[in-house]
Symmetry: C2
């Protein structure tokens, strides 16, 4: 048993899609969430800047005596987490490994599509992990830089010519390559999974890395006997680096539920 909280962070609030899954799987766990809303987005920034921000994010979460940290951010998981994880005395989890395993297990034709931020696609991290499982797999990566601002501006509905035009353009090379599995490599993308699924067709399996990572983390904690002794009634606290104004509205979009727990603004300058 280990009653310390789990730390979860993301560049913004998209990582709450993974928190939602964790809450379902492990209702007894306490969760501390940090969203770097004062510096979001990460996905268009350089690797060195993403590494610097990741160090600060984790240092902040460690001030809560967490037992494990989940980087619920596609960009961090592909670009900076390995670089920072070596220095930690607690286990760290990204969203890549579980999703790469899932995609490798699910694909039938060995053609796996990946959509993500510019930094995630550049990293080749998914490709490396998938090829370790399936050496002959072909991974087709496409950066989709407009998906995050479009989702954050509410362009998530079928029939919206803006999101549908952009999605059709981004996904065209994946359709041409006949991928049968598509990794939604950014925590914002599950919100437009319906539109993506329509374009890709019903035979393409969509893999949600945030949900897969939550399952993976839950299994790890169970297997190493580090679950909280409670099995329900976990508490939640949320920290952001910009104002908490509007937090509840956007957060509830990703949590698909009302926000329960305290929400505070913090400065990471001293971390």
């Amino acid at each position: 048993m280990d009653n310390r909280p789990i730390g979860v962070f993301d560049s913004g609030l998209g990582g709450l899609t993974a928190v939602k899954k964790l809450m379902e799987l492990l209702p007894g766990e306490d969760i501390v969430y940090f969203g770097d809303t004062g510096r979001v987005p990460y996905g268009s920034r350089s690797r060195e800047t993403i590494i610097k921000y990741t160090r600060q994010d984790i240092a902040f979460l460690r001030s809560f005596n967490i037992k494990a940290v989940l980087a619920a951010c596609g960009t961090v998981s592909t670009t900076s987490l390995d670089f920072v994880a070596g220095d930690l005395a607690i286990p760290s989890f990204g969203v890549v490994k579980a999703a790469a395993l899932k995609a490798s297990n699910v694909t039938k034709n060995g053609k796996i599509g990946l959509i993500g931020t510019v930094a995630s696609i550049k990293s080749h991290k998914y490709e490396d992990l998938i090829k370790a499982c399936l050496p002959n797999a072909e991974v087709v990566g496409v950066a989709c830089p407009l998906f995050v601002p479009l989702v954050e501006n509410g362009r998530i509905h079928r029939g919206d010519v803006v999101i549908e035009t952009v999605a059709n353009e981004y996904l065209a090379p994946l359709r041409e390559k006949c991928v049968d599995t598509l990794i939604l490599g950014c925590t914002h993308y599950p919100l437009i999974a319906g539109i993506i699924g329509d374009i890709m067709g019903e035979n393409v399996v969509l893999v949600d890395p945030g949900a897969e990572a939550a399952k993976f983390l839950a299994n790890e904690l169970a297997e190493t006997n580090r679950l909280n002794e409670r099995t329900s009634g976990g508490s939640y606290s949320y920290y952001v680096s910009d104002s908490t104004d509007g937090f509840s509205e956007l957060a509830s979009l990703f949590l698909e539920n009302d926000v329960m727990g305290e929400v505070k603004q913090v400065s990471l300058d001293s971390f």
Copy 2:
């Protein structure tokens, strides 16, 4: 005569549209530009965060012994500059005042449209300045949060259904109000002035605050005898807070010219 450089900054690289105008008007001036590419965008952040970032940006530029600072950023000019300017021993200029004066002079029906970031529209800064000139003016502000990511992703061409759909939606309330003048309240917007002009119609005058601010600053320096003694051959240096990779490509879009001068990455943590 004052041979010290002029400092110019923006949340990103959009402020280079004002630098371009300054270069044309005052070819003898040295210019130091800072683009906060590690923390862009500012326009969707809270006022307190924008104030904090603005203080750091100006402190960095002051390390070059500048004679004046131009905030070539719509969001800073509307939201934080007044708050920070009081502490400075050098003159500071934003992009609002000159554009508000220009719009007040140009309008015939007293109905002035304003497009900008969420923070800029919230600030009511343009409205206050315009009403000081024209007490009966009606200012109609519309936040256009998708314009910056769309411009940065190259969706700036006539015939692109994505930018045209979004622009038509954002501009509809301004057309309904029959504004005869429209302030392009963000330094990215001049790049889609053609599309905006098509939608608004040829009788609506578009005001570019970056260009107006550059003219205003040039006049001020001339009138107070603080121009550089050179009248040509000014030097340019550029600093950014993220990697310099890709700087030249994006910067030349805003400068409408190749980048001349050195480009360096800096950290603002100690400012």
